[in-house]
């Protein structure tokens, strides 16, 4: 009994949670932008602090609900800590939503930059990692854009979460996993600033993808290429998005397919020294819009119509997949699709032989694309309508 009491007291008093911070002591940081001063080579960290009183439900103050603090330092953590010189709250990073990284820094390699985030306990694995394309990273946070959320971080978070398949996205944990493994290279999300004609004259756009070789930025994918990329990987936001195909009924008109349930499989094949891949893409779709007018005589005609659309859709998938794989092979020489992962899974011995110079091998590896499309529904209307 005495021993039990001692054990209980030890359990209580020898340990416990230690980092007590009152809500009024912490400054919730919900976005970070990392730039580099080209002259000094110092990092410039822009932290977006939330100003809670402006978000109060009872007596909201009219101020901006956030605070942008830019600090510089030789290392990331030094720069972050320096914010205490100018800001009255201790930074609290567990609710960080997005880390935006300057294109230039990404080209030099991200793993050294990300070290402190991995090491520290605050930043979480699910933080979105984005590359600012054609602009400084802090500009993305500073922009006066039209958005519904008053806090830019929340707005960016929702923007990324709701992205369709024209935009690649990656979180911090996945990025690290892929950058540190030989089997697949990461593709990160891209934020850019787009000029528009009316107020507020510019807005943030989330589209395309940033291709990395190991942890270094190699280049960008266009929207079509990003969609192709998602067809190959079969993951990500692939079940959201639409594809417009030329109508088979009427020239110059289009039919739009709502993409559902994209699954894909990369099958490696080894014959002697020859490695080849088969990419099998399966996609379901629903006809979401149909511009052509007309009328079907019977059921058979309608089914045939579906078949024709499926064929068109299939062609489109193959075309886009070819586009992106060619680009990855020829322009970037980087395996962003996980061909290596598939090879490792099925032929570990072969993989062990080729993994050291996989990027070169990948650049000219032959592949075939098999697409399989199933149009399951035409929503509430059966066929096209015909005005009479």
């Amino acid at each position: 009994m005495k021993k039990l009491v001692i054990v209980l007291f030890c359990l209580l008093l020898v340990t416990g949670c230690w980092d007590r911070r009152e809500l009024t002591e912490i400054g919730i940081v919900s976005a970070l932008a990392i730039d580099k001063n080209p002259d000094t080579g110092d990092f410039e960290i822009t932290s977006l602090f939330i100003r809670p009183s402006a978000e109060s439900t009872q007596t909201p103050s009219p101020e901006r609900p956030f605070l942008l603090v830019t600090t510089t330092g030789k290392t990331i953590i030094e720069a972050i800590r320096k914010s205490s010189q100018t800001t009255d709250r201790e930074g609290f990073f567990a609710h960080n939503k997005v880390i935006i990284i300057n294109e230039q820094i990404a080209k030099e390699g991200l793993i050294p930059v990300m070290d402190t985030f991995q090491r520290g306990k605050d930043i979480r694995g699910y933080v979105w990692l984005c590359i600012a394309k054609g602009t400084e990273a802090k500009n993305v946070l500073q922009i006066k854009s039209d958005n519904i959320s008053r806090i830019p971080a929340n707005y960016l978070n929702s923007l990324i979460e709701n992205a369709e398949e024209e935009a690649a996205k990656i979180n911090f944990l996945t990025y690290n996993k892929e950058a540190l493994s030989e089997e697949k290279d990461p593709v990160a999300g891209v934020l850019s600033i787009e000029k528009i004609e009316k107020e507020p004259f510019e807005r943030v756009k989330f589209s395309g993808g940033a291709v990395f070789q190991k942890d270094k930025l190699k280049g960008f994918l266009t929207e079509r290429e990003t969609r192709g990329y998602h067809f190959v990987t079969g993951e990500g936001p692939a079940n959201q998005g639409v594809i417009s195909l030329p109508s088979v009924l009427e020239k110059g008109k289009f039919v739009t397919i709502e993409v559902r349930n994209v699954t894909s499989q990369i099958k490696p094949e080894v014959k002697g020294n020859q490695i080849s891949f088969t990419i099998e893409v399966k996609q379901e779709g629903r006809i979401a819009e149909q511009q052509a007018t007309g009328q079907f005589k019977d059921r058979k005609e309608q089914v045939d119509y579906f078949r024709k659309i499926e064929e068109e859709n299939k062609k489109r998938i193959e075309e886009e997949v070819n586009l992106v794989v060619k680009k990855a092979q020829q322009e970037f020489q980087t395996d962003i699709f996980g061909f290596g992962r598939a090879l490792n899974k099925d032929y570990p011995d072969v993989w062990n032989n080729v993994k050291d110079n996989w990027d070169e091998r990948f650049a000219d590896v032959p592949y075939t694309v098999n697409a399989n499309v199933d149009i399951t529904s035409s929503l509430l209307l059966q066929g096209p309508l015909e005005p009479k």
Binding site: T15, R20, R21, E22, L23, I26, I28, P52, Q58
Partner: protein, 535 residues
């Protein structure tokens, strides 16, 4: 130093003398044959009180015999005494009717058998008994020349009617509640269980108060060993005062240092009857509507009599809600404090922003805030209970206004904290049977959460659970049927299975297999005989 020593010595000597006084059980001996002698003795014993009434008169039976009766004013029904005692005895035709038929020696027996028209008469020889019974409202008749007295039950004091109990109200089911009169209370239970096996045994506890206590159990259902244990513990009570069943509870409970009650109390006869039928033993105490029942298990605090009166679906849902409410009322302030001061990363971002916004203008740490509001709430509750009724409603309005609106506007507490404490309060009323333990656990966890975060809450919960597992109530494990697991008992714990499935009585209480019903109680469609077509 010397002074202190002498002081303790005085106390000791005082204690010694008082214990001597207590232990010397005063005895008044036997009843004398002479009426005058008896009258003098009674006057000696009770004479100082003005509420003792004597009435001396003579009965003519062949010769004139002096008689006196004695009773306590206010405890007896005087009309009854006038008609059934005095009038019967003094009727002039008393002698004429009986002169020839009965021998002279048996006046006492004649009075008892043929004259007094009262249903409960007893002949008694000991003066001690006489004094005791007179003090409890009976009337004594002394007849000259006899060394025994007749005691007639004439109790007729004022008492409350059988009303709806204030502490346990219900929508469906019996609305009667116990009152302060012992025999009414046992009768209410007897009315629910018309069974000769229902036994009430009587005893008196309290050297000064001589309180009537009855234990009730059903022979054949209650475990005889537990009955013996209850009697034994009751007999061991050696105290001056038993004013309420709470006194008894504290003298006989298994775990006097525990915050958890291991003896149940109830104001509702149907509830007590149900407990008796499950093999428990009830302890009725004169002067209080609260009847104790043992053994008491933890699950009982989550059960309501209505669970059995309503259909199993709703009853099970309500049970789950009560368990949920128990966790909420114990843990909400602690969880909130831990989250707000240690684990800000655990709440959704938007909620954290709102919480931080609300906290922004509050000058205190979250823990102080929680402590203040919880104490204020307990104060309000206590005030609501102690206040004279007409003021009570004013208190609740002031309380709600002050805490809900003004404190937030004044920036003393944050709005989320008000919600947290309000939630704690409301859910606290769901598990009223455990309310005293809940308050202590709530503060315990609150302090641990403020000092150690979630880790503290976890440790606190483990300590509480471990403690609960160690408790026993009259031989039954407190957490049964969950710890130890008793499968048949689980049917009536977290969920309340249909009545037709609850075939056995609780094993944790009976300690043996005992069936309460057959197996085929499930309602079924009437069987249609194929031969007799429906025409």
């Amino acid at each position: 130093m010397l002074k202190k020593f002498s002081f303790t010595k005085t106390i000791q000597s005082y204690k010694a003398s008082s214990s001597q006084k207590n232990s010397s059980n005063q005895s008044y001996g036997l009843i004398d044959k002479s009426v005058n002698q008896n009258l003098n003795q009674i006057k000696n014993i009770l004479g100082k009180s003005i509420d003792v009434k004597y009435r001396e008169f003579e009965v003519y039976y062949q010769t004139s015999i002096s008689v006196f009766i004695c009773f306590i004013d206010g405890l007896v029904n005087e009309d009854y005494i006038n008609v059934h005692l005095v009038k019967s005895l003094m009727e002039p035709n008393f002698a004429n009717n009986h002169a020839s038929s009965l021998p002279f020696e048996n006046v006492l027996s004649v009075v008892k058998k043929r004259i007094l028209t009262s249903s409960s008469i007893e002949e008694i020889c000991s003066m001690d008994d006489v004094i005791e019974r007179v003090l409890s409202g009976e009337t004594v008749i002394f007849i000259d020349g006899y060394d025994s007295a007749l005691l007639v039950s004439t109790q007729g004091f004022e008492s409350r009617n059988v009303e709806q109990p204030e502490t346990e109200s219900n929508v469906r089911g019996s609305r009667e509640g116990f009152n302060e009169v012992l025999k009414v209370n046992t009768a209410l239970v007897r009315r629910k269980i018309n069974n000769p096996n229902l036994v009430f045994e009587s005893m008196k506890i309290g050297k000064q108060t001589k309180t009537n206590v009855r234990i009730g159990y059903i022979e054949g259902i209650a475990n005889q060993k537990v009955v013996e244990e209850v009697k034994d513990r009751l007999n061991r009570i050696d105290t001056d005062i038993i004013l309420e069943s709470g006194y008894i509870e504290q003298y006989i409970e298994d775990n006097p240092y525990s915050i958890f009650p291991t003896i149940a109390n109830s104001e509702k006869p149907d509830k007590v009857a149900a407990k008796l039928l499950e093999g428990r033993i009830a302890i009725f105490c004169d002067g209080t509507p609260f009847v104790l029942s043992v053994p008491h298990l933890f699950v009982e605090t989550l059960q309501a009599s209505e669970d059995y009166y309503s259909r199993p679906y709703l009853a099970s849902l309500m049970r789950l809600l009560r368990i949920f409410a128990l966790f909420l009322t114990v843990g909400t302030p602690a969880l909130f404090v831990a989250v707000a001061s240690y684990h800000q990363e655990m709440v959704p971002s938007l909620l954290l922003t709102t919480m931080a916004a609300a906290e922004e203008k509050v000058p205190f740490p979250v823990f102080i805030e929680a402590l203040m509001l919880t104490i204020v709430f307990e104060l309000l509750r206590e005030a609501g209970v102690r206040m004279p009724r007409p003021v009570g409603s004013a208190i609740s309005i002031v309380g709600a206004l002050v805490i809900g609106e003004a404190a937030v506007t004044a920036g003393l507490v944050s709005a989320p904290m008000v919600i947290v404490v309000a939630l704690t309060a409301i859910t606290g009323f769901v598990v009223t049977a455990l309310s005293d333990a809940v308050i202590i656990m709530r503060f315990f966890l609150l302090f641990l959460a403020a000092a150690f975060g979630f880790y503290g809450i976890l440790m606190g919960t483990l300590i509480i659970l471990g403690h609960m597992c160690s408790l026993r109530s009259f031989g039954s494990p407190y957490l049964a049927p969950v710890g130890p697991i008793i499968l048949s008992g689980l049917k009536d714990s977290v969920l309340r299975m249909p009545l037709w499935l609850l075939n056995v009585r609780p094993l944790a209480i009976e300690w043996r297999k005992s069936k309460r019903q057959g197996r085929d109680n499930k309602p079924e469609h009437p069987k249609v005989n194929k031969g007799e077509g429906q025409g």
